[in-house]
Structures are given as structure tokens and as C-alpha cells.
């Protein structure tokens, strides 16, 4: 009896194994039959109006990462009426399945930002397998060129563009980074405007430069922030430090390095109307460069000087964006959080914003003069 049972079990095993072999068809696809898309670039088509040119940056797996000196990428480029069409055609350009789950970078051509940004982003958000934590960047000149750039320091498995944004490599106040969900959220919400980094390449495509940014607002030409204004934006919006100001006084030149910043702001209202923006910045830092000997006793004085300098820069940034009626920091949003929602909350704000006075208070606290006096 026991023997019989065992025979039955063996029989069952055989059936199960056969089932596995037969059934393992659907959805089963080995990793070496897939190609990982690392970046997607979207440019306007060169041939036809309203069409897109899609560039896919594919990472090719290598058998041994340590032996491989150069990164190996493949680029697929195609034009189509919409992005999906172009992607579908691109799938026929390769023998493996395209895998969108690892897309880290979405590069959009500057020219598309004004009118088409919603269409472009829609595709990426709608695809469930695409990360919402992909970085969005604006490519100057063309997205294809930016993606094709292969800096020397690039490693075999990780792209250097992502390293700009993810804060594991460089950390700099000049680099703005925007996740896809963040960008989408800020585009569609009232009271805040999204800021995107601009990625440029040098002429031979061996270097990538990221130090400018764009404020995007639907239906108008995006406003470009210079490197310096980008820095101010980062200070205010992300509390980023790690940059320096030059102070001139009494014929001296001091360079102050800001380590930590803390920004607080409030909207002052009277009679249910916004009347002023009250902003307070606290910074700590140290003196990093000077052409004369400094005395520690004078730190108070240097604090004062630094405060004035910072104030000047920040005010310049705030008034510039205010003039353009852009709101990258989200003052409008702040205003909304303070009022029970009704229909004309936003209207009131929009009327008042361009002329709102800004009350700025800067508090710089220099900790040292470095290793020498």
C-alpha cells in the first residue's frame, strides 16, 4: 500500500514539473532577454510639425564589470506622431524586450516646454511601470545630444546624468533636481511653479554641465534662471548650503562659505488680502578666503557684512521672479494654507502677488575664519 502511494506521489511530481515547463510561458522572460532603458529624451521632430523624436538610452549588460573599461550603451532614435508610436517602432529595432522600469532620466527639449509639456509628461506618468522618481531635466540644444554624451568618468553600469541629481555623487547648490511626480504636482497645482534643471553638453559631447534652471509655466516661454539665481533658488527652496559669497569692505575681499541655511517665510494678511511676505533666513558658515589677516574679534562685523550681501542676492532673485509673475518657492501655496478655501482665494493672491512687498531678514552666523586667522 505504501509503495502504491509513493508511486502516486512520483506521478504527481512528474505532472507538476510538466505543468511548470508548459505554463512558464506567460510573462516569463529572463533578465538577459531584456534591455534596460536608462534615459528617455524627447525632442521636437525635425521633419514634421507636432511630431516627436524619441531617443532611448539603453544600458547593455556586460559579462564582467571589472574588466570592462568603457560603458556600453546603445541609442535608439525614432520619430513618430506621438511618443508611444515611436517607442513601439523602436521595439522592433532591437531583438530584446525594452524594460522601462529602470528609466531614471527624462530629458525634454527646451522647445517643448512651452506648449507640449503636458502631453509629454502624460505618457510617462500614465505608464505604471515607469518610475515616478525619475528625474526630469531640460535639454538645451537637443535631448538626443545630452543623452549621447558620455563623460570620461562614466562607469560601466551607472550613467553620469543621474549622478548629478541623486546627491550620491556631486552635491552642489547650482544643481536643481526635480522628480517626475514633483514636477507634475507643481505644474498642476495652483500657487507654485515647477523648476527644472537645464542640462547642456560641450561641443564634443564629452562633458555635461548642469548649473542653470528653468521656471516652467504652462502657455508661456519658460523663464531661465542663471547659475547665480539657480543658487539662490536652491537656498530658499531646499535649504541647500555649500556655496560662497564674496564680500568687499574697506578694500578687503573676503569669501564666505555658507554651510547650513534655514528658511522660514510667512504671508502677512490684512483684511483677507495678502499684504507682505515675511521671510527669515538663518545661515551658518565660515570665512574661506581673504586677502588680509582677519581677527576673530571682528566676526560680528563680518556677520553683518555677510548678511547684507546675502540679502542683496536673495532680494534680487525674489524681485526678478516676482516681476515675471512666477512663484517657484510656493508663496501662493502658503497663502492658500492659511485661508479657508473659497473661489476667490487664488484670484486675490494672483492680483496681489506681483506688487507684494518682501520683508527679508537675514541672520548669518560665521563660526570661524578657517584654520588661520
Amino acid at each position: 500500500m505504501y509503495l502504491l502511494d509513493r508511486r502516486k506521489v512520483v506521478f504527481l511530481y512528474v505532472i507538476v514539473i510538466q505543468c511548470i515547463v508548459l505554463l512558464a510561458g506567460c510573462g516569463f522572460k529572463d533578465i538577459d532577454n531584456r534591455l534596460f532603458i536608462i534615459g528617455i529624451g524627447v525632442d521636437p521632430s525635425e521633419k514634421e510639425e507636432g511630431h516627436y523624436k524619441v531617443t532611448l538610452k539603453l544600458s547593455i549588460p556586460v559579462a564582467s564589470i571589472k574588466q570592462e573599461k568603457k560603458p556600453s550603451y546603445q541609442y535608439l532614435v525614432h520619430e513618430g506622431e506621438n511618443i508611444e508610436e515611436a517607442v513601439r517602432i523602436l521595439e522592433t529595432h532591437t531583438d530584446k524586450t525594452l524594460e522601462f522600469g529602470h528609466t531614471k532620466i527624462i530629458m525634454v527639449n527646451e522647445a517643448l516646454l512651452e506648449n507640449n509639456i503636458k502631453d509629454v509628461m502624460d505618457y510617462f506618468v500614465r505608464r505604471g511601470d515607469m518610475q515616478l522618481i525619475a528625474w526630469v531635466g531640460v535639454a538645451k540644444e537637443s535631448a538626443e545630444e545630452v543623452l549621447r554624451a558620455e563623460p570620461k568618468a562614466e562607469e560601466a553600469v551607472s550613467t553620469s546624468i543621474t549622478r548629478f541629481f541623486d546627491n550620491t555623487g556631486t552635491e552642489s547648490p547650482y544643481i536643481v533636481s526635480a522628480f517626475m511626480f514633483e514636477f507634475r504636482r507643481n505644474t498642476r497645482s495652483l500657487g507654485i511653479d515647477p523648476v527644472l534643471p537645464i542640462v547642456e553638453t560641450n561641443d564634443d559631447g564629452s562633458q555635461l554641465i548642469v548649473n542653470k534652471s528653468l521656471i516652467v509655466q504652462e502657455g508661456r516661454v519658460p523663464f531661465e534662471l542663471s547659475s547665480r539665481l539657480t543658487r539662490e533658488y536652491n537656498t530658499l527652496a531646499n535649504d541647500l548650503g555649500g556655496y560662497s559669497y564674496k564680500i568687499e569692505f574697506e578694500g578687503n575681499n573676503i569669501v564666505v562659505n555658507i554651510g547650513k541655511t534655514k528658511v522660514k517665510y510667512k504671508i502677512i494678511t490684512e483684511n483677507k488680502k495678502p499684504t507682505a511676505i515675511n521671510m527669515k533666513i538663518e545661515m551658518t558658515g565660515e570665512i574661506i578666503e581673504s586677502d588680509k589677516d582677519l581677527s576673530l574679534n571682528n566676526l560680528e562685523k563680518y556677520n553683518k557684512l555677510a548678511e547684507d550681501e546675502v540679502k542683496k542676492h536673495v532680494l534680487e532673485f525674489l524681485t526678478t521672479v516676482q516681476k515675471e509673475n512666477l512663484d517657484p518657492i510656493g508663496f501662493g501655496l502658503k497663502y492658500r494654507t492659511m485661508h479657508i478655501n473659497n473661489k476667490d482665494t487664488m484670484k486675490k493672491w494672483n492680483e496681489a502677488y506681483p506688487e507684494l512687498p518682501i520683508d527679508l531678514k537675514v541672520d548669518v552666523n560665521l563660526k570661524s575664519t578657517g584654520t588661520i586667522e
Partner: protein, 360 residues
């Protein structure tokens, strides 16, 4: 007991509840949620109170004892169907979600089949084992769940300003739809209808228990509604099909082996929705079993009634998965939530009748 309540609460995060709340975000969700919280806790309190009177007896047993046949058969059938549907909604929602976000190529049926096979086994277990499973899995998942929420809430990209903006919409009168959806998260307690037979002692339900349940309920409701808004903004949140999955996809673990939090989220919620499915279907099965008993269905001295129902459940859910689309799922599940107060009403009515008869 608390596991039953908590699992249902948490499971609803991936179900259609946040979707409905978010769609109603401009129609006075906050008031509805507060109202639902109160109603839910009171409801929980009364259900436990009633069942304490009949400790050690399950709902069908109580009804059979104290009411007549024409009354209890339709009531139990109605309950059984409701439970089956509640489980099926969780199942279908999860399967859709999984296919959209993780494996686009896998057919819906395969995923559903995987669920149905395992759950069928689970349904046939003893009710006691179902409770133990619930406990074990929930305790295993809880630390990860807490990690998940802490990670999401402490993420620097969570914009609290949006949450505040959403709160500023407090001045709008509540809508019925959001109320019923919000109160649905408290439905877990009703599973007591079957599991009551295992609670031999009276369940304590004093101030401490009430406060625990209301706190957890409030936290869950808060998280369910406000966190997606913080990540996705107030204006466009209503366009999201799966607000919570998109939310968890917005968090990045910089140094994790798994970089995208969404995968942990989906895997954890696979466990949670599995538990919720298991409990719902198990209760439903027991309810059906208590009134139907096919003597003819016999094979090798085993009565196959329960097997029949298990196969039926599986077949129906697979059929539904293939037929229904996302929009219909949303529509039907919101209908389902809308008729839920009726369910409360019938439950109380029948308990009330039973109680009176028992005293006479």
C-alpha cells in the same frame, strides 16, 4: 480580534477607498471622515456589545436558535454575498494594481489564479487556523508596514503645504459617498459573526479599547487621505487611479537594495490584501455552509459542499476579473460601499430580534 479590525483598515488603503475619498476631495471629505470615524467606532462598540451577549456562538447559530427560517435564510445569504463581494473587490483591485505597476506582461488570470489557489486552501482551514494565520502574517508584516509609513511621512518631498491646503477645505458639507467609503474601513469588526464562536470569554471593550480603535482609525484615515495629497498636490489628485501606489512610488530609498519603495509597498500590501481576502471569503464560506448542505455531493465519505463553494468562489472571481474593467470596478465598488449602511441596519435588526427572542 483587533487584528480583524486592523487588517481591514489597512487593507483598504490599496482598495478603492482612497480613490473615492480623493475624488470627493472637493466635496467635504474631511467632515465625512470625522463623521465616519465616530459612526464607525460606535458601530464597532455596539457590535461587540451584542455579540458579547452570545459569547461562544456564531451569528448563524444565534439566528438559527432564535429566529424563524424565513428570516434567517435570506439574511445569511445576503451577508454571505456581501462578504464574498467585499473579498472579491479587494482581490480584483489588487490584481489590477499589480498588473499595472509590476508585471505588464502577465495575464490577469494567472495572477488571479495564484491568489485563488492559495486562498482556497486557506478557506478550507479551521476558523481557528485562519485567526492564527492572520495573527502571524500581520505581526510579520507590521514592522515593515510601519517602516513604510514612517519612510513615506518623513520624506523630504512630502509637501505639507498641500496637506494644509486640503485641510482648508473643511468648510464644505459632507457627501454621502465619501462618508460611506470612509466608514467602510471599520467593517472589520463584523467578521465577528463567525469568529465569535472562538471567543469563549467576553471581549473587553472599555474605554481603553475604544480609544485604541479610534486612534488607529483616525491615523489610518488621515494617512489614507492626506499623504497622497502631500505628494501629488491637491489639484490633480483626483485624476489618479491608484493614489496610494503612485504615492509610494514617489519615495526613493537612496541606499536601499530596492531603490523604489513602491515594490516594498506592493509586496506588503499583497500580504495584507491576501489576509483581508482570506478572512472575508472564509466568513462567507462559513455563512453559506451554515445554511446549505448538499447531501448528495459526496465522494469517498466526504461531503463536498464546502469544496463546491470554494470552486464556485474561485470561478466567479476569475470570471469577474476577465470581464470587468477598471472603470466598472470603481463604479461597482462605490455602489457597494454606498449600500453598506443597509448592511449595518440589517445586522442590527437581526441581532436585535435575536436578543429579544432570546430573552422571551
Amino acid at each position: 480580534m483587533y487584528y480583524l479590525i486592523f487588517v481591514t483598515m489597512v487593507a483598504n488603503i490599496i482598495a478603492t477607498v482612497p480613490r473615492i475619498l480623493v475624488i470627493e476631495s472637493k466635496n467635504g471629505v474631511i467632515f465625512s471622515m470625522i463623521a465616519a470615524l465616530f459612526v464607525g467606532v460606535i458601530f464597532t462598540y455596539f457590535v461587540i456589545l451584542f455579540f458579547n451577549k452570545f459569547s461562544g456562538l456564531s451569528f448563524p447559530e444565534i439566528l438559527k436558535k432564535h429566529t424563524s427560517k424565513w428570516f434567517y435564510i435570506p439574511v445569511i445569504v445576503y451577508f454571505g454575498i456581501s462578504w464574498f463581494l467585499a473579498g472579491t473587490i479587494t482581490l480584483i483591485t489588487y490584481v489590477f494594481l499589480f498588473t499595472t505597476f509590476v508585471s505588464l506582461e502577465t495575464p490577469l488570470i494567472t495572477t488571479t489564479l495564484a491568489f485563488v489557489i492559495i486562498v482556497s486552501f486557506g478557506m478550507l482551514m479551521k476558523s481557528e487556523s485562519v485567526l492564527f494565520t492572520l495573527e502571524t502574517v500581520f505581526v510579520l508584516l507590521l514592522p515593515i508596514l510601519i517602516f513604510l509609513f514612517v519612510k513615506i511621512i518623513t520624506d523630504s518631498n512630502l509637501e505639507w503645504n498641500f496637506v494644509q491646503v486640503a485641510m482648508m477645505n473643511i468648510n464644505i458639507t459632507p457627501s454621502y459617498r465619501s462618508f460611506s467609503a470612509a466608514s467602510y474601513i471599520f467593517i472589520g469588526v463584523v467578521n465577528i459573526v463567525i469568529f465569535n464562536s472562538f471567543f469563549k470569554e467576553k471581549l473587553k471593550f472599555g474605554f481603553k479599547q475604544i480609544s485604541i480603535i479610534s486612534t488607529v482609525g483616525a491615523v489610518v484615515l488621515f494617512i489614507t487621505y492626506f499623504i497622497p495629497i502631500g505628494f501629488n498636490g491637491f489639484e490633480q489628485i483626483e485624476h489618479m487611479n491608484f493614489p496610494w501606489v503612485s504615492t509610494s512610488d514617489s519615495v526613493r530609498m537612496k541606499y536601499g537594495v530596492i531603490e523604489r519603495l513602491v515594490f516594498i509597498f506592493i509586496i506588503i500590501f499583497l500580504g495584507i490584501s491576501f489576509l483581508s481576502l482570506l478572512v472575508h471569503w472564509h466568513v462567507s464560506l462559513k455563512l453559506f455552509e451554515s445554511i446549505f448542505h448538499f447531501n448528495k455531493l459526496k465522494w469517498k465519505n466526504k461531503n463536498l459542499t464546502s469544496y463546491f463553494f470554494v470552486v464556485l468562489f474561485g470561478a466567479v472571481s476569475i470570471y469577474l476579473v476577465t470581464k470587468i474593467d477598471e472603470f466598472e470596478l470603481f463604479k461597482y465598488s462605490s455602489y457597494f460601499y454606498n449600500i453598506f449602511p443597509l448592511f449595518y441596519f440589517i445586522l442590527f435588526l437581526s441581532l436585535f430580534v435575536a436578543k429579544r427572542r432570546a430573552k422571551i
